[in-house]
Amino acid sequence: MSNQAAAPTSPEKKEFWRWQENTWVDESRDWRDAKILTCGIDVGSVSSQAVLVADGELYGYNSMRTGNNSPDSARNALQGVMDKCGMALEDIHFVVGTGYGRVNVPFAHKAITEIACHARGANYMGGNQVRTILDMGGQDCKAIHCDERGKVTNFLMNDKCAAGTGRGMEVISDLMQIPIGELGPRSFDVREEPEAVSSICVVFAKSEALALLKAGYTKNMVIAAYCQAMAERVVSLLERIGVEEGFFITGGIAKNPGVVKRIEKLLGIQALDTQIDSQIAGALGAALFGHTLMMKQGAAKAA
Protein backbone atom coordinates (compact mmCIF):
# COMPACT_ATOMS: atom_id res chain seq x y z
CA MET A 1 0.00 0.00 0.00
CA SER A 2 2.92 2.30 0.60
CA ASN A 3 3.99 2.97 -2.96
CA GLN A 4 2.08 4.26 -5.88
CA ALA A 5 2.58 1.28 -8.15
CA ALA A 6 0.87 -1.08 -5.72
CA ALA A 7 -2.65 -0.45 -6.88
CA PRO A 8 -3.36 -2.52 -9.99
CA THR A 9 -6.71 -3.83 -8.84
CA SER A 10 -8.29 -6.86 -10.38
CA PRO A 11 -11.55 -6.12 -12.20
CA GLU A 12 -13.73 -8.17 -9.85
CA LYS A 13 -12.64 -6.24 -6.78
CA LYS A 14 -12.43 -2.67 -7.97
CA GLU A 15 -11.71 -0.13 -5.28
CA PHE A 16 -14.09 2.66 -6.14
CA TRP A 17 -13.08 4.85 -3.25
CA ARG A 18 -9.50 5.16 -4.48
CA TRP A 19 -8.65 8.76 -5.34
CA GLN A 20 -5.93 10.14 -7.56
CA GLU A 21 -2.42 10.41 -6.15
CA ASN A 22 -0.27 13.08 -7.72
CA THR A 23 3.07 14.83 -7.87
CA TRP A 24 3.90 18.32 -9.14
CA VAL A 25 7.02 20.45 -9.42
CA ASP A 26 7.34 24.06 -10.58
CA GLU A 27 9.30 23.52 -13.82
CA SER A 28 9.87 27.26 -14.28
CA ARG A 29 12.29 27.44 -11.37
CA ASP A 30 15.33 25.53 -10.16
CA TRP A 31 15.48 24.75 -6.46
CA ARG A 32 19.27 25.04 -6.63
CA ASP A 33 18.82 28.82 -6.95
CA ALA A 34 16.90 29.04 -3.66
CA LYS A 35 18.52 30.32 -0.46
CA ILE A 36 16.11 28.59 1.88
CA LEU A 37 14.54 25.24 1.12
CA THR A 38 11.97 23.93 3.57
CA CYS A 39 9.64 20.97 3.58
CA GLY A 40 6.30 20.27 5.20
CA ILE A 41 5.05 16.75 5.70
CA ASP A 42 1.43 16.04 6.56
CA VAL A 43 0.86 12.44 7.52
CA GLY A 44 -2.88 12.15 7.70
CA SER A 45 -4.91 9.10 8.55
CA VAL A 46 -5.79 8.54 4.91
CA SER A 47 -3.38 10.57 2.79
CA SER A 48 0.16 11.85 3.20
CA GLN A 49 1.60 14.93 1.54
CA ALA A 50 5.07 16.34 1.20
CA VAL A 51 5.42 19.97 0.11
CA LEU A 52 8.61 21.79 -0.83
CA VAL A 53 8.87 25.53 -0.36
CA ALA A 54 11.75 27.43 -1.98
CA ASP A 55 12.37 30.91 -0.57
CA GLY A 56 8.85 31.06 0.83
CA GLU A 57 7.11 30.07 -2.42
CA LEU A 58 5.52 26.72 -3.24
CA TYR A 59 7.95 24.67 -5.30
CA GLY A 60 6.60 21.14 -5.46
CA TYR A 61 4.45 18.51 -3.79
CA ASN A 62 3.50 14.90 -3.69
CA SER A 63 0.22 13.51 -2.38
CA MET A 64 -0.38 9.82 -1.77
CA ARG A 65 -2.30 7.33 0.31
CA THR A 66 -0.99 6.76 3.84
CA GLY A 67 0.44 3.28 4.33
CA ASN A 68 0.31 1.16 7.46
CA ASN A 69 3.43 2.76 8.82
CA SER A 70 3.68 6.51 9.45
CA PRO A 71 7.48 6.94 9.12
CA ASP A 72 7.44 5.09 5.79
CA SER A 73 4.51 7.14 4.54
CA ALA A 74 6.37 10.34 5.38
CA ARG A 75 9.52 9.12 3.68
CA ASN A 76 7.71 7.87 0.58
CA ALA A 77 5.73 11.06 0.19
CA LEU A 78 8.90 13.14 0.30
CA GLN A 79 10.88 10.78 -1.91
CA GLY A 80 8.19 11.07 -4.59
CA VAL A 81 8.67 14.80 -4.99
CA MET A 82 12.45 14.83 -4.46
CA ASP A 83 12.88 12.24 -7.23
CA LYS A 84 10.98 14.48 -9.61
CA CYS A 85 13.46 17.34 -9.19
CA GLY A 86 16.70 15.56 -8.32
CA MET A 87 16.79 16.71 -4.71
CA ALA A 88 18.21 14.87 -1.69
CA LEU A 89 17.13 15.14 1.96
CA GLU A 90 20.44 16.90 2.77
CA ASP A 91 19.47 19.75 0.46
CA ILE A 92 16.49 20.68 2.63
CA HIS A 93 17.19 23.10 5.46
CA PHE A 94 14.21 22.52 7.68
CA VAL A 95 11.43 19.91 7.85
CA VAL A 96 8.17 20.40 9.73
CA GLY A 97 5.81 17.50 10.39
CA THR A 98 2.07 17.92 10.83
CA GLY A 99 -1.11 15.86 10.76
CA TYR A 100 -2.23 12.89 12.76
CA GLY A 101 1.12 11.11 12.33
CA ARG A 102 3.26 14.24 12.83
CA VAL A 103 5.24 12.81 15.73
CA ASN A 104 6.21 9.89 13.51
CA VAL A 105 8.13 11.86 10.90
CA PRO A 106 11.64 10.74 11.83
CA PHE A 107 13.52 13.43 9.91
CA ALA A 108 11.36 16.39 10.98
CA HIS A 109 12.93 19.19 13.02
CA LYS A 110 9.62 20.25 14.51
CA ALA A 111 6.00 19.15 14.77
CA ILE A 112 3.13 21.63 14.49
CA THR A 113 -0.58 20.81 14.77
CA GLU A 114 -2.59 20.53 11.59
CA ILE A 115 -4.92 23.31 12.74
CA ALA A 116 -2.17 25.94 12.67
CA CYS A 117 -0.70 24.49 9.46
CA HIS A 118 -4.02 24.45 7.61
CA ALA A 119 -4.66 28.08 8.48
CA ARG A 120 -1.20 29.05 7.30
CA GLY A 121 -1.51 27.01 4.10
CA ALA A 122 -4.96 28.40 3.31
CA ASN A 123 -3.64 31.91 3.85
CA TYR A 124 -1.08 31.23 1.12
CA MET A 125 -3.45 29.40 -1.24
CA GLY A 126 -6.46 31.70 -0.94
CA GLY A 127 -4.64 34.89 -0.10
CA ASN A 128 -4.74 37.00 3.05
CA GLN A 129 -8.47 37.66 2.73
CA VAL A 130 -9.11 34.10 3.95
CA ARG A 131 -10.91 34.17 7.33
CA THR A 132 -12.90 30.94 7.54
CA ILE A 133 -11.40 27.61 6.59
CA LEU A 134 -13.23 24.35 6.27
CA ASP A 135 -11.01 21.32 6.00
CA MET A 136 -12.56 17.99 5.25
CA GLY A 137 -9.91 15.37 5.58
CA GLY A 138 -10.02 11.61 5.40
CA GLN A 139 -10.94 11.02 9.03
CA ASP A 140 -11.71 14.43 10.40
CA CYS A 141 -13.32 17.75 9.73
CA LYS A 142 -11.92 21.07 10.91
CA ALA A 143 -13.45 24.52 11.04
CA ILE A 144 -10.95 27.32 11.54
CA HIS A 145 -11.01 31.10 11.76
CA CYS A 146 -7.78 32.97 11.12
CA ASP A 147 -6.51 36.52 10.87
CA GLU A 148 -4.88 38.18 7.86
CA ARG A 149 -1.54 36.56 8.68
CA GLY A 150 -3.01 33.08 8.80
CA LYS A 151 -2.93 32.84 12.59
CA VAL A 152 -5.73 30.78 14.10
CA THR A 153 -8.32 32.73 16.12
CA ASN A 154 -10.95 30.04 16.64
CA PHE A 155 -11.10 26.38 15.73
CA LEU A 156 -12.80 23.08 16.24
CA MET A 157 -11.91 19.66 14.99
CA ASN A 158 -14.16 16.66 14.77
CA ASP A 159 -12.30 13.39 14.48
CA LYS A 160 -14.60 11.31 16.62
CA CYS A 161 -17.31 10.62 14.11
CA ALA A 162 -17.03 9.66 10.42
CA ALA A 163 -20.02 11.78 9.39
CA GLY A 164 -18.77 14.73 7.38
CA THR A 165 -15.35 13.24 6.62
CA GLY A 166 -13.77 11.86 3.47
CA ARG A 167 -14.18 8.38 4.92
CA GLY A 168 -17.93 8.90 4.89
CA MET A 169 -17.70 9.73 1.18
CA GLU A 170 -15.60 6.64 0.49
CA VAL A 171 -18.28 4.51 2.11
CA ILE A 172 -20.96 5.74 -0.30
CA SER A 173 -18.65 5.41 -3.30
CA ASP A 174 -18.05 1.81 -2.37
CA LEU A 175 -21.73 1.16 -1.71
CA MET A 176 -22.79 2.66 -5.06
CA GLN A 177 -19.84 1.09 -6.89
CA ILE A 178 -18.98 4.43 -8.44
CA PRO A 179 -15.47 5.95 -8.50
CA ILE A 180 -15.16 8.68 -5.90
CA GLY A 181 -14.23 11.33 -8.48
CA GLU A 182 -17.56 10.83 -10.28
CA LEU A 183 -19.79 11.28 -7.24
CA GLY A 184 -19.88 15.09 -7.44
CA PRO A 185 -20.85 15.44 -11.10
CA ARG A 186 -23.36 12.57 -10.82
CA SER A 187 -25.06 14.22 -7.85
CA PHE A 188 -26.18 17.05 -10.15
CA ASP A 189 -27.43 14.70 -12.84
CA VAL A 190 -30.87 14.36 -11.26
CA ARG A 191 -34.26 15.61 -12.36
CA GLU A 192 -34.95 17.16 -9.01
CA GLU A 193 -32.91 17.59 -5.86
CA PRO A 194 -33.94 14.93 -3.33
CA GLU A 195 -34.10 15.52 0.42
CA ALA A 196 -30.93 14.85 2.37
CA VAL A 197 -30.38 11.42 3.90
CA SER A 198 -31.71 11.94 7.42
CA SER A 199 -29.20 9.89 9.43
CA ILE A 200 -26.07 11.64 10.63
CA CYS A 201 -24.30 8.40 11.53
CA VAL A 202 -22.56 6.91 8.46
CA VAL A 203 -23.59 3.40 9.44
CA PHE A 204 -27.26 4.36 9.54
CA ALA A 205 -26.93 6.56 6.44
CA LYS A 206 -25.64 3.51 4.60
CA SER A 207 -28.75 1.48 5.43
CA GLU A 208 -30.86 4.50 4.57
CA ALA A 209 -29.16 4.79 1.18
CA LEU A 210 -29.88 1.13 0.48
CA ALA A 211 -33.52 1.63 1.45
CA LEU A 212 -33.75 4.61 -0.93
CA LEU A 213 -32.41 2.48 -3.79
CA LYS A 214 -35.00 -0.16 -2.95
CA ALA A 215 -37.69 2.50 -2.92
CA GLY A 216 -36.84 3.33 -6.53
CA TYR A 217 -34.31 6.17 -6.27
CA THR A 218 -31.70 6.20 -9.02
CA LYS A 219 -28.08 5.91 -7.92
CA ASN A 220 -27.54 9.56 -8.80
CA MET A 221 -30.44 10.60 -6.60
CA VAL A 222 -29.07 8.62 -3.67
CA ILE A 223 -25.67 10.25 -4.22
CA ALA A 224 -27.33 13.67 -4.31
CA ALA A 225 -29.20 12.93 -1.07
CA TYR A 226 -25.96 11.80 0.52
CA CYS A 227 -23.93 14.82 -0.70
CA GLN A 228 -26.64 17.08 0.69
CA ALA A 229 -26.46 15.30 4.07
CA MET A 230 -22.68 15.68 4.02
CA ALA A 231 -23.00 19.40 3.30
CA GLU A 232 -25.59 19.88 6.05
CA ARG A 233 -23.35 18.06 8.49
CA VAL A 234 -20.26 20.20 7.90
CA VAL A 235 -22.31 23.37 7.84
CA SER A 236 -23.68 22.45 11.26
CA LEU A 237 -20.09 22.10 12.48
CA LEU A 238 -19.15 25.43 10.93
CA GLU A 239 -22.07 27.13 12.63
CA ARG A 240 -20.45 26.57 15.99
CA ILE A 241 -17.67 29.02 15.15
CA GLY A 242 -19.60 31.01 12.55
CA VAL A 243 -18.69 31.84 8.97
CA GLU A 244 -17.00 35.06 7.88
CA GLU A 245 -16.37 36.33 4.35
CA GLY A 246 -13.20 34.93 2.86
CA PHE A 247 -14.32 31.32 2.95
CA PHE A 248 -11.86 28.66 1.87
CA ILE A 249 -12.20 24.88 1.60
CA THR A 250 -9.24 22.52 1.89
CA GLY A 251 -8.80 18.77 2.04
CA GLY A 252 -9.90 16.04 -0.32
CA ILE A 253 -13.57 16.93 -0.22
CA ALA A 254 -12.85 20.31 -1.87
CA LYS A 255 -12.48 18.23 -5.04
CA ASN A 256 -16.09 17.07 -4.81
CA PRO A 257 -18.32 19.76 -6.32
CA GLY A 258 -21.36 17.77 -5.19
CA VAL A 259 -20.56 18.70 -1.61
CA VAL A 260 -18.85 22.08 -2.18
CA LYS A 261 -21.71 23.57 -4.24
CA ARG A 262 -24.24 22.41 -1.68
CA ILE A 263 -22.23 23.89 1.20
CA GLU A 264 -22.02 27.20 -0.68
CA LYS A 265 -25.76 27.13 -1.24
CA LEU A 266 -26.52 26.42 2.42
CA LEU A 267 -24.19 29.16 3.61
CA GLY A 268 -25.10 31.61 0.87
CA ILE A 269 -21.39 32.29 0.35
CA GLN A 270 -18.93 31.40 -2.42
CA ALA A 271 -15.70 29.64 -1.52
CA LEU A 272 -12.51 31.35 -2.73
CA ASP A 273 -10.83 29.75 -5.70
CA THR A 274 -7.31 28.38 -5.96
CA GLN A 275 -5.21 26.66 -8.60
CA ILE A 276 -3.35 24.63 -5.97
CA ASP A 277 -4.30 21.08 -4.97
CA SER A 278 -6.60 21.48 -1.95
CA GLN A 279 -5.18 18.41 -0.23
CA ILE A 280 -1.75 19.94 0.34
CA ALA A 281 -2.87 22.86 2.55
CA GLY A 282 -1.58 21.31 5.79
CA ALA A 283 1.82 20.30 4.42
CA LEU A 284 2.17 23.64 2.65
CA GLY A 285 1.45 25.48 5.89
CA ALA A 286 4.02 23.31 7.66
CA ALA A 287 6.67 24.14 5.06
CA LEU A 288 5.82 27.86 5.36
CA PHE A 289 6.18 27.64 9.16
CA GLY A 290 9.58 26.07 8.49
CA HIS A 291 10.51 28.98 6.25
CA THR A 292 9.55 31.54 8.92
CA LEU A 293 11.61 29.67 11.52
CA MET A 294 14.64 29.61 9.20
CA MET A 295 14.26 33.34 8.55
CA LYS A 296 14.17 33.98 12.30
CA GLN A 297 17.26 31.85 12.84
CA GLY A 298 19.03 33.62 9.99
CA ALA A 299 18.12 36.98 11.47
CA ALA A 300 19.38 35.81 14.85
CA LYS A 301 22.70 34.71 13.33
CA ALA A 302 23.09 37.92 11.38
CA ALA A 303 22.47 40.01 14.47
Partner: protein, 94 residues
Amino acid sequence: MIANYGYKDGSGEYYISIDTDQCIDCAAGRACLGACPKQMFEIITDDYDDEVACIKEANRRTLAFDCADCKPAAGHDSLPCTDACTPGAVRHSW
Protein backbone atom coordinates in the same frame (compact mmCIF):
# COMPACT_ATOMS: atom_id res chain seq x y z
CA MET B 1 -7.69 32.04 20.10
CA ILE B 2 -10.81 30.05 20.97
CA ALA B 3 -9.96 26.38 21.08
CA ASN B 4 -12.99 24.10 20.92
CA TYR B 5 -12.27 20.60 22.13
CA GLY B 6 -14.89 17.97 21.61
CA TYR B 7 -17.23 16.83 18.89
CA LYS B 8 -20.71 16.63 17.55
CA ASP B 9 -22.24 13.28 16.75
CA GLY B 10 -25.70 11.86 16.17
CA SER B 11 -26.56 12.29 19.84
CA GLY B 12 -25.57 15.93 20.30
CA GLU B 13 -22.90 18.58 20.55
CA TYR B 14 -20.20 18.32 23.21
CA TYR B 15 -17.49 20.97 23.37
CA ILE B 16 -15.30 22.51 26.03
CA SER B 17 -14.06 25.86 24.69
CA ILE B 18 -10.96 27.56 26.01
CA ASP B 19 -10.25 31.20 25.23
CA THR B 20 -6.47 31.07 25.15
CA ASP B 21 -6.07 34.86 25.22
CA GLN B 22 -7.54 34.84 28.71
CA CYS B 23 -5.67 31.67 29.59
CA ILE B 24 -2.08 32.72 28.78
CA ASP B 25 -1.49 34.70 31.98
CA CYS B 26 -3.85 32.68 34.13
CA ALA B 27 -5.33 34.72 36.95
CA ALA B 28 -6.69 31.65 38.68
CA GLY B 29 -3.40 29.82 39.21
CA ARG B 30 -4.31 27.07 36.73
CA ALA B 31 -7.14 25.99 39.00
CA CYS B 32 -8.75 24.02 36.17
CA LEU B 33 -6.06 21.34 36.51
CA GLY B 34 -7.22 20.38 39.98
CA ALA B 35 -10.88 21.23 39.61
CA CYS B 36 -11.77 18.62 37.02
CA PRO B 37 -12.46 15.34 38.82
CA LYS B 38 -11.30 13.46 35.73
CA GLN B 39 -8.11 15.55 35.37
CA MET B 40 -8.91 16.30 31.77
CA PHE B 41 -7.06 19.61 31.63
CA GLU B 42 -3.36 19.94 30.93
CA ILE B 43 -1.01 22.82 30.17
CA ILE B 44 0.71 22.80 26.78
CA THR B 45 2.86 25.11 24.73
CA ASP B 46 0.74 25.74 21.67
CA ASP B 47 1.81 26.34 18.07
CA TYR B 48 2.31 30.03 18.73
CA ASP B 49 4.56 29.33 21.74
CA ASP B 50 1.94 30.31 24.31
CA GLU B 51 1.44 28.29 27.49
CA VAL B 52 -2.22 27.48 27.68
CA ALA B 53 -4.64 24.90 29.04
CA CYS B 54 -6.15 22.28 26.79
CA ILE B 55 -8.21 19.13 27.08
CA LYS B 56 -6.15 15.95 26.99
CA GLU B 57 -6.21 14.14 23.67
CA ALA B 58 -7.72 11.00 25.20
CA ASN B 59 -10.78 12.87 26.48
CA ARG B 60 -11.59 14.89 23.38
CA ARG B 61 -13.64 12.13 21.81
CA THR B 62 -15.48 11.03 24.92
CA LEU B 63 -16.58 14.28 26.56
CA ALA B 64 -20.26 13.35 26.66
CA PHE B 65 -19.36 10.49 28.97
CA ASP B 66 -16.41 12.05 30.78
CA CYS B 67 -18.39 15.09 31.87
CA ALA B 68 -21.58 13.20 32.75
CA ASP B 69 -20.73 13.06 36.45
CA CYS B 70 -20.59 16.86 36.76
CA LYS B 71 -23.79 17.52 34.84
CA PRO B 72 -27.15 18.55 36.34
CA ALA B 73 -28.37 14.97 35.93
CA ALA B 74 -25.76 14.00 38.53
CA GLY B 75 -27.06 16.65 40.92
CA HIS B 76 -24.73 19.57 40.13
CA ASP B 77 -26.00 23.02 39.32
CA SER B 78 -22.63 24.40 38.24
CA LEU B 79 -19.52 22.85 36.75
CA PRO B 80 -16.23 22.56 38.70
CA CYS B 81 -14.14 23.51 35.64
CA THR B 82 -16.02 26.68 34.68
CA ASP B 83 -16.29 27.67 38.36
CA ALA B 84 -12.55 27.25 38.89
CA CYS B 85 -11.67 29.34 35.85
CA THR B 86 -12.45 32.74 37.35
CA PRO B 87 -11.21 34.65 34.26
CA GLY B 88 -14.00 32.87 32.36
CA ALA B 89 -11.79 31.27 29.75
CA VAL B 90 -13.44 27.84 30.04
CA ARG B 91 -16.89 27.27 28.63
CA HIS B 92 -19.05 24.19 28.26
CA SER B 93 -21.41 23.76 25.32
CA TRP B 94 -24.09 21.52 26.72
